[in-house]
Amino acid sequence: MKYFSVRKSWILVFAIMTIFTLAACSSDETGGGSGEEPDEITAWAWDPNFNIAALELAKESYEKDIKLKIIENAQDDIVQKLNTGLSSGTMKGMPNIVLIEDQRAQSFLKAYPDAFYPLDEYINPDDFAAYKLAPTSLDGKQYGLPFDTGVTGLFFRTDYLKEAGYTMEDLSNITWEKYIEIGKDVKAKTGKDMISLDPNDLGLIRVMIQSAGSWYVKEDGTTVHLKDNEALKKAFQNYKAMMEADFVKANSDWSQFIAAFNSGDVATVPSGNWIGPSIEAEASQKGKWAVAQIPRLDMEGAVNASNQGGSSFYVLNIPGKEKAAEFLAETFGSSKQFYQDLVLDVGALGTYKPASEGEAYQAENEYFGGQKLISDFSKWMEEIPSVNYGMHTYAIEDILAAEMQNYLNGKSLEDALADAQAQAEAQLK
C-alpha cells in the first residue's frame, strides 16, 4: 500500500473537502413545509421593476414587523417550480406568497385544491375590479388577491395619425372594422404600417373576444367554446382583414415587437397598459404618443375595454399562511395610500377600486402629451367584461394558432373553428 501514499493523497483531501463544502453550503430552513411557524415568510414574483418593486414597497409600508424575503424568478420558472413542488406533495421549499398570472390561475387552483389558502376572511373581493374575480376564485372561495391590471388601450402615434387626418376623437369608441379602415388610410397617406403582429401569438384575438365578454371556454371554465362562438368568429375575420390589408409589420418575437414601435415603423400598438414603459424607453418620441380606448367587436354587448395579462397574489397553505395573508390584506388588500405610492414610485396600476379616487391617479403623463393616463386606464378597467379564463387557455391557443394559419391560407372560417373545437375537445378530455 505504500504506493498509495503522499502523492495520491490529494484525492483523499479533495474528497474530504468536498464533503465539508457540501455541509457548509447547506442552509437553515427556508420556506415552509415543516410544522412550525417560521420567522420569515417568502414571496416569489417576477420582473424587478414591476412586481418585485411593488412587493418591496408593500414591505416598506407595512406597519407591523415582518421578515419578508422577496425572491425574484422568471414567470415560466415559477410555474415550473410550483408544479414540481406541489405535485411532489411535500410543500418543502415552497414560498408563502406567490404571484400567478390570471390566465394560469385556475389550473393551479383546480389541480392542487388544498395547496392554497382562501383569503375571504382577510379581504373584501368587491373592492376589486369585477373582471379580476372569476380567474382568482374557485367554488365560491376567493384565493387570489387581485393585483395588476392588464387593461388595454390603443397606443398611437399622434403625428402619423394627424398626417393622415385623424385625431384622438376619431379613434375613440370605434370598432375594429373602423380601425382597419383607418389603418388603410394611414398606410396610404404616410406609408407607415398600422400595427405589428406576431402570427403565432393570438394575444390580440384574446383582447378582442374579452371585449365582448367571451373566451375560448364557456362560463364554467371547462367547456370548449370555439365553434359557433360569435365573438371569436368576428375576431378571426378582423385578424384576417388586417393581414390582408397590407398594413401589418410582422414580428416573430418580443424584441422585434418592441423594435417595431421604438423605431417608429408602426402607427399604433393595441396592448395592455404595461407596454407603456417599453414605449417610453425611446426618449426621442416623447410627446408623439397618446392612448385611446381599445376598439371593440361589432356586436351586441361588446365594449371599448378589454384586458391583456395581469396577475394576482396567492397564499400557500403552509405554516406562516396567516402572517402572509395579513400582510397582503393590509397592503395590497386595503391601503389606498399604498396604491398611490405604487402608481407614483413603481408605475404599477392595481385593480383596487377605491384607490382611483386618490390624487396620484390624476397625474398627467408628459411623455404622452400630458394625457391623464392612469386616470383613463382605471376608468376603462372598471368596464372590462368579466370572463372565466378556465384551465386551458394556452393549450387551446396552440390549437387555434394552427387553425388561424389554415384560415389565413383559405380554409373556411366555420371549418377552421369546428376543427379546432374537435381537436381541443379530444385533447382536453
Binding site: 500500500m1 504506493y3 498509495f4 495520491k8 484525492i11 479533495f14 474528497a15 468536498t18 463544502t21 457540501l22 455541509a23 453550503c25 447547506s26 442552509s27 437553515d28 430552513e29 427556508t30 420556506g31 413545509g33 415543516s34 417568502t42 417576477w46 420582473d47 424587478p48 421593476n49 414591476f50 424575503k69 425572491i71 425574484e72 424568478n73 422568471a74 414567470q75 415560466d76 420558472d77 415550473q80 417550480k81 414540481t84 413542488g85 405535485s87 411532489s88 406533495g89 411535500t90 410543500m91 418543502k92 421549499g93 414560498p95 418580443w254 424584441s255 422585434q256 418592441i258 423594435a259 421604438n262 423605431s263 404595461w274 414603459p277 417599453s278 424607453a281 425611446e282
Partner: protein
C-alpha cells in the same frame, strides 16, 4: 479543375464558419450596445459596454452565482469522473456473473428523460430535508447529488477501458499493488485522455444544467448562472445589452475549461504513446 474544386471548398467552409461564428460575434457586439439598438438590429460595436456591466453587477448578484456555479461544477465534475471511472473500470476488468445484464439495465436508465424523474426526486429530497437538512431542498448538495452518478459516464469509461491493456493489471498484481492501487497508480495516469474528454463534458453539463437546479434551489444566495440569466430575460422590459453581458461572462469559464483540457488532451496522448 483541382484549383476550382479547392476554391469551392474554401467558399463552402467560409460560409459554414460565418454561420457558426455569427451568433457568438453578435453576442459580443450586443454586449456593447444599448437594448434599443439591439432590438433594432445594430451589428456594429457600441459604447455601452461599461454601462451594461455596471447595471448587470448592480442589478443581480453575479459574483455569488459564479461562485455557486463553480462550486457545483467542480465538485460534480470531480465526483462524476471518480464514480464513473471506478464503475466503468469495474464493469470491464472484473468478471462477475450477470454483470452484462446489470449493465444493460443501467443503460436503460439513460432512456428516461430527466423531466420524468424530477417530481419523485423532488419528493425524495423533500423527505431528506426533514431529517438531514444540509442535504435537502435548497442546498448546493441537493443540486449536485442526483447528477454525479450517470449511466452515460459509466458507459463512457467502460468503452474507453476496452483500450486499456489488461496486462498492466496483471503486472500490477504481480508487483504487489492493491486493486485500488492499480486503479490510481496505473489506470488513472494512462487514461488521462479519457479523463480530459470526460471532464470537459461533465463540466459543461453541470455548468449549463438548468432544470434540476431551478426546481431545487430556492434562495437567491444559492442560484447558479443559468438561473440568473433566465431571471434577467424575464422582465416585462428586458434589457438585452445586460443579458448579453451576463451570457458572455457565463460562457467564459466553459471556454477556459475547454482550452485547459485541450492541452491535457494532447499531453495525455503523448503520455500513452510513451507508456
Amino acid at each position: 479543375m483541382r484549383k476550382l474544386q479547392r476554391i469551392a471548398t474554401y467558399i463552402f467552409l467560409s460560409i459554414a464558419a460565418i454561420v457558426s461564428i455569427f451568433p457568438f460575434l453578435w453576442m459580443l457586439v450586443s454586449m456593447t450596445n444599448k437594448s434599443v439598438d439591439i432590438t433594432q438590429g445594430r451589428l456594429l460595436p457600441g459604447t455601452h459596454l461599461f454601462e451594461n456591466l455596471t447595471v448587470l453587477f448592480q442589478q443581480v448578484d453575479m459574483v455569488t452565482a459564479l461562485v455557486n456555479s463553480t462550486i457545483i461544477a467542480v465538485i460534480t465534475t470531480f465526483l462524476t469522473l471518480l464514480i464513473g471511472s471506478l464503475a466503468g473500470y469495474g464493469f470491464e476488468i472484473y468478471r462477475t456473473p450477470g454483470k452484462d445484464r446489470i449493465f444493460n439495465i443501467l443503460l436503460l436508465s439513460m432512456m428516461i428523460p430527466f423531466a420524468a424523474i424530477m417530481i419523485p426526486l423532488y419528493r425524495l429530497f423533500g423527505g431528506i430535508s426533514a431529517t438531514i437538512p444540509f442535504l435537502g431542498i435548497d442546498t448546493l448538495a441537493a443540486a449536485i447529488l442526483p447528477t454525479i452518478i450517470t449511466a452515460f459516464f459509466i458507459f463512457f469509461f467502460r468503452q474507453n477501458t476496452k483500450m486499456f491493456a489488461r496486462d498492466l493489471v496483471e503486472a500490477g498484481r504481480i508487483d504487489g499493488l492493491s486493486e485500488l492501487g492499480i486503479f490510481f497508480r496505473i489506470y488513472l495516469p494512462t487514461m488521462k485522455t479519457s479523463y480530459a474528454a470526460a471532464a470537459i463534458i461533465a463540466f459543461m453539463n453541470s455548468w449549463n444544467n438548468f432544470l434540476w437546479p431551478l426546481v431545487v434551489l430556492q434562495s437567491p444566495e444559492k442560484q447558479t448562472i443559468p438561473l440568473l440569466i433566465s431571471k434577467l430575460g424575464a422582465g416585462y422590459t428586458p434589457d438585452f445589452g445586460v443579458i448579453m453581458s451576463a451570457i458572455v461572462i457565463a460562457t467564459l469559464p466553459t471556454a477556459i475549461v475547454f482550452f485547459l483540457m485541450q492541452k491535457h488532451f494532447v499531453a495525455g496522448m503523448m503520455g500513452s504513446v510513451k507508456g
